[in-house]
Subunit: 220 residues, 2 copies
């Protein structure tokens, strides 16, 4: 999906400044849509509400996104796919499937812990949301398959284990966000899922407590 | 919640017939609301759409339910709480926490397999839905706690494990319903969660394959 594609009407401004301004406007539209989606869920967002919040005209909106669905997709891509790519960058050089799976799960959960607005956004998208499934589902399946192929995991049905990983992530986030007095559930969450995919109690405990390497930033 | 409370305007009919008629009307409203909620999600249901589908007047609707939220709650209660009560009846006499947990999980999943409309309904409600959480959350927590107290489960955070049970249920249902060529995931689903709560691979396999006792009907 070419979410970066931007059509800007030509003006007399120099190109560098024009591109920067277009980027700022696109970012403002995305931020407004994201805030509205976090408040009321993606199904309630209208183009009118987005343009009012971003303080732009509807014509300007259509210079950047062709439809309501396109902006909703772009927000979800922005919010979830970016994190997915950072996780890919983190785990690309790792060889132990249990560490790859556990580090990814802990970072996903910790992002919700450190950024509750992001967490609520993902929880409200829900398990049946297409963009979320597309961004996270294949990554979970890939990581579990690496564990099966290397003999580290004991999983009969990778698609099922991937769906369960994904659903339990959202439910654990929701439970944490709904009751903030709870402690950060990242390690227990990863430990539970490491046992689910077949690690022994001792191994699941050990791997889930390893120092968590920081997420790398993506190259611009 | 007194969902059974019904206010019916008095008529000249004999009481038995009047009560039966009121029950039929209430059932018609619930069925219409349930069908609309299954199609478009609970947030999109309006009283107007329900009364049109049930072919009754809006005044009649308000004789049975005080508000839109009340009918939505009543449908969810009807659909999920009834199954919860049947699971309670099934497992009341059992002593092994692993069997109680596993039988409940398999029945929940099999209900979605045998009744996809029910399954989609529950999936669309989503993990953040209050009525669903209230009907299933405390039961999952109770069953996991029995396992912890009896030493059968190894769970540090019962609330987290309960949320993960619940979220993975909805995601596994969604994955199955979205791809019906898949086989019934009930046993693998239960096996995965038995491992998650601390059973060994061998025990989780054995318990998840036990013959599944049928769900008892509730006394009327």
């Amino acid at each position: 999906m070419a979410h970066g594609t931007v059509a800007v009407s030509s003006t007399e401004q120099p190109p560098g400044r024009r591109v920067r301004k277009a980027e700022l406007t696109r970012r403002r539209i995305l931020d407004a849509a994201r805030a509205l989606m976090a408040e009321a869920g993606p199904e309630s967002v209208t183009i009118l509400a987005i343009t009012e919040r971003a303080d732009i005209g509807q014509g300007t909106f259509y210079n950047y996104f062709p439809s309501r669905d396109a902006i909703v997709d772009a927000v979800i891509f922005d919010v979830v796919e970016t994190l997915g790519q950072r996780l890919d960058a983190l785990t690309a050089g790792m060889s132990d499937a249990a560490e790859i799976y556990s580090f990814s799960l802990r970072h996903l959960m910790q992002t919700a812990v450190s950024d509750p607005v992001w967490g609520w956004f993902v929880v409200r998208l829900g398990i049946a949301q297409d963009g979320l499934l597309k961004a996270l589902g294949p990554r979970a399946s890939r990581d579990i398959q690496i564990g099966v192929d290397s003999g580290r995991f004991n999983v009969d049905d990778v698609a099922l284990a991937s769906a369960m990983t994904f659903g339990s992530l959202l439910a654990a986030m929701h439970s944490y966000l709904d009751n903030r007095s709870a402690e950060d559930p990242s390690q227990h969450y990863a430990e539970n899922l490491l046992r689910m995919v077949g690690l022994s109690t001792e191994e699941a405990h050990r791997v889930s407590r390893l120092p968590l390497p920081p997420l790398p930033d993506l190259p611009r």
